[in-house]
Symmetry: C2
Amino acid sequence: MAEDFTSSQPIYLQLVERLCKQIVRGDLSPGEKMPSLRDMAIQVGVNPNTVQRVYTELERIAVAETRRGQGTFVTSDESRLLRLREELMVSYVTAFLNDMREMGFTLQEVMRSLKEHQAQGLPNDER
Amino acid sequence: MAEDFTSSQPIYLQLVERLCKQIVRGDLSPGEKMPSLRDMAIQVGVNPNTVQRVYTELERIAVAETRRGQGTFVTSDESRLLRLREELMVSYVTAFLNDMREMGFTLQEVMRSLKEHQAQGLPNDER
DNA sequence: ATGAGTGAACTATGTTGATAGTGCACTAAT
DNA sequence: ATTAGTGCACTATCAACATAGTTCACTCAT
């Protein structure tokens, strides 16, 4: 499968971000085994060495655990994942607001644009 | 001046983005002369060749105009700048909402986080 | 006319990311 | 014990980015 990567950022970082999102979203459950280096490399159409860098990075930020000879697994530390979820939210939100401020947009402009573009957008609370 | 650049994206692209923001924001007025290659290079602490790539890119997207022997100027086409302002807004907003969706956040979660982090944040409409 | 300042074009070097390929060490199932 | 599957560790090559440095052509003020 030929994947869609931006040329303006290293592939391994784009993959790290993608996997973090999938984990936070719940597509990958705590403790679940991730594809092997070679399988993942085939799936996303990159070199196994690149995937190894990704898994090493995921382990560095304590999102995945690697067991030699067995594979790489999503961490089973659920509190870590909840923390990651909150960290990611904060970093994305602050980066977004920072961009808006740097471009001189007003609160009203931002809120209006957010409402316009969420038509077929975010899910609602189940409640 | 030693500037703060991320290592995860080419410097010239970071500079392009920064300048676009300043132009959209109004820090750089339509028709205003921008610093020369060499001056800009010194200001931001990069190589003149890198700045040249930046100016070439700004010209490619019709945000700046270059007059050989004179310098590089912010385009005086104000409608182009208004269009750029709207384009940037849309691209940032849709990217943000896309990220939020990919991480499985609900509309309520996003709105709450936005409100929490805009404490000392965006300017209000003058009205 | 001269010279300072400008963008443009070129060569060369070093670093990083991505690739290809090989081999090794460990684990689990057989 | 053997084997298949795993992560890990290398070497080597290529392209893109950033740097350093030089030269050229153009514009403008003097």
